[in-house]
């Protein structure tokens, strides 16, 4: 077997050295009647030639869409060529967790640089090395807030504008606290500030908001921050499109205690949501309660600047049942793609792409507003916005699918009362011709 260096002669030598006659004896501690004999239903092993054919067939089973305006938590972006090029280097891809700092300075420094850029984007003091994804990152943020507020049993306010998948994951993680959850209503497509001010009282412990929200609307973090300041409430935020921080200030600037988000836009294609990494940032004073890995800067015994995993006693492999979380990873290779992408964009590139995203979305909005049957609110948005249709969004999406492309996301998939809402996301990859095609499509539908 080409992945196993030992040939039959090697095996003979090894068996002799350990004093066994056959390899079966290696497994003498498994009762013979339980061992697999003829009952393993497994296909024949494939060579690389056959594997390529297998996947060719799988990929050909249905056509990929020729154009997509789907966003809703995962976004298409231009991934610079150097990102996959560097990410696939052996020394990054096949390295282990940097528990031995002396021979892992590459990974450790990359994480340190990532942590730094996240603090800059979110305007927070401290970032960890990433968590699984945006949804679990939000759940972990709320759990951390609960640990910090363990004396009181106040309400946990969830914005009604949370991405429904994120809310579902939060509710799964907060199973023991479900009776404390109350939903802050929206007024139209944005958080109702008046209703919110009635909820953010001494009866509440935690406030959870998301911006841009499920409708693509940018919430008024400035007003929310001012409200939070008047209370003891712990404010946890979530963001699914971190490019928004190229034009909008980080939640840390408005007083958010914990900032979470999905990092996928930096570094990876949508990949079915499976190339994600969770952003997690907070204040220095909460350091000891932070879940996940942390890399710190220090010196070695020769006085050279060095990096190391630090504050490890928070984590499961030491603190075990008292750990801040059971998490045993950061999504390092995904995070690495993220930091390479961010470094390539740099200050100017991030600003340029964010402006392009905003411009594309505003272009679509202004043209679609000319279509009388369509309604688009005046709330501020970034790269994504919602169109209210006079008919079901599902028919529209199906019509585009029949023509081989994706015109947006039918929000009715989450809640029946949203079934006339189409969520449209733009990308810097879209050309004017493609944007115009979407406008024409909506203008002439159904």
């Amino acid at each position: 077997m080409k992945y196993i260096p030992q040939g039959p002669d090697d095996q003979k030598e090894l068996l002799k050295a350990v004093g066994l006659k056959s390899t079966d004896e290696l497994f003498q501690f498994i009762p013979a009647h339980l061992k697999i004999k003829n009952n393993l239903y497994y296909p024949k092993a494939q060579s690389e030639i056959e594997i390529r054919k297998t996947f060719q067939k799988i990929c050909a089973s249905s056509p990929a869409p020729s154009l997509s305006f789907a966003g809703c938590g995962l976004y298409q972006h231009d991934i610079p060529s150097i990102v996959p090029f560097i990410q696939s280097r052996s020394e990054f891809a096949t390295s282990y967790t940097p528990y031995q700092p002396e021979i892992s300075q590459g990974n450790l420094q990359a994480i340190f640089e990532f942590q730094t850029m996240i603090t800059q984007l979110t305007e927070c003091e401290l970032s960890n090395a990433s968590l699984y994804d945006g949804a679990t990152s939000l759940a972990e943020g709320i759990l951390m807030a609960l640990r910090l507020k363990k004396k009181t049993a106040g309400k946990i306010i969830l914005s009604g504008g949370l991405h429904p998948h994120y809310e579902q994951v939060v509710r799964t993680y907060l199973q023991s606290f479900l009776d404390r959850i109350v939903v802050a209503p929206l007024k139209g497509d944005r958080l109702d500030q008046e209703a919110l001010s009635k909820l953010v009282t001494s009866e509440a412990d935690i406030l959870v908001t998301q911006s841009p929200n499920i409708f693509g609307v940018i919430e008024d973090d400035s007003a929310i921050g001012a409200l939070v300041k008047t209370s003891d409430v712990f404010w946890v935020t979530s963001t699914t499109e971190p490019f928004v921080w190229g034009v909008v200030r980080g939640p840390g600037a408005f007083g958010a205690h914990i900032v979470t988000g999905e990092g996928q836009s930096f570094g990876a294609p949508a990949y079915l949501g499976g190339a994600s990494y969770g952003i997690f940032a907070t204040k220095n004073e909460y350091l000891r309660q932070v879940p996940g890995r942390l890399v710190g800067e220090t010196l070695d015994q020769k006085g050279r600047r060095s990096y190391t995993l630090t504050f490890a006693t928070r984590e499961q492999f030491i603190r075990r049942e008292k750990a801040t979380s059971n998490i045993c990873t950061n999504q390092n290779l995904n995070m690495l793609a993220g930091v390479i992408h961010m470094a390539t964009l740099g200050k100017a590139g991030l600003k340029a792409v964010s402006r392009r995203l905003l411009s594309h979305a505003e272009y679509l909005k202004s043209h679609l507003r000319e279509v009388s049957e369509l309604k688009i609110s005046s709330s501020p948005t970034f790269s994504e916005f919602t169109v209210d249709l006079p008919y079901g969004a599902a028919t529209l999406v199906k019509s585009a699918a029949d023509a081989g492309w994706v015109c947006g996301v039918d929000l009715g998939r989450f809640k029946p009362e949203w079934n006339k809402k189409l969520l449209i996301a733009t990308s810097e990859l879209h050309t004017k011709a493609e944007l115009d095609r979407l406008v024409d499509f909506l203008r002439t539908a159904p």
Binding site: K151, R288, T313, I318, R319, K322
Partner: protein, 138 residues
């Protein structure tokens, strides 16, 4: 018995001890509590101490907090049943005090005792010395 100058073997006579390497100084129905020189030496550089709140109560031998060194976390067990009257506010940010002065500035809790009879179950210095001498030999 003279204070032993070997690292980790300092055992003041006027205190009482537990097999979990805590010490207690009894004062008029209350007790000051901390960890012993043996414990701080075994842990190495202490980086953090997590202590309870005033007003919390603990039964004897229940965990009241934790102490972190670089690579380990150790649990702290209440030597006696009682309510926490005072917590050493200088820890956790000056956790090294536990290494430098475990019986003095490194004190952790002051508790109000619920059952003074429990004092009899604590080890006097001479018994504790025997215990750590045996452990050190292992």
């Amino acid at each position: 018995m003279a204070a032993n100058k070997e690292p980790g073997m300092h055992v003041p006579e006027h205190l009482l001890y537990t097999k979990n390497h805590e010490w207690a100084r009894i004062e008029d129905g209350t007790a000051y509590v901390g960890i012993t020189d043996y414990a701080q030496h075994a842990l190495g550089d202490i980086t953090y101490v997590e202590l309870p709140e005033e007003g919390q109560s603990f039964n004897k031998e229940k965990v009241f907090g934790t102490v972190d060194s670089l690579k380990t976390v150790a649990e702290l067990y209440a030597p006696l049943t009682g309510e926490v009257l005072e917590v050493n506010a200088k820890l956790p940010s000056n956790a090294e005090q536990v290494n430098e002065d475990p019986y003095g500035e490194g004190w952790m809790l002051k508790i109000e005792l619920s059952d003074e009879k429990e004092i009899e179950q604590l080890l006097p210095a001479i018994e504790y010395v025997k215990l750590i001498q045996k452990q050190a030999k292992k």
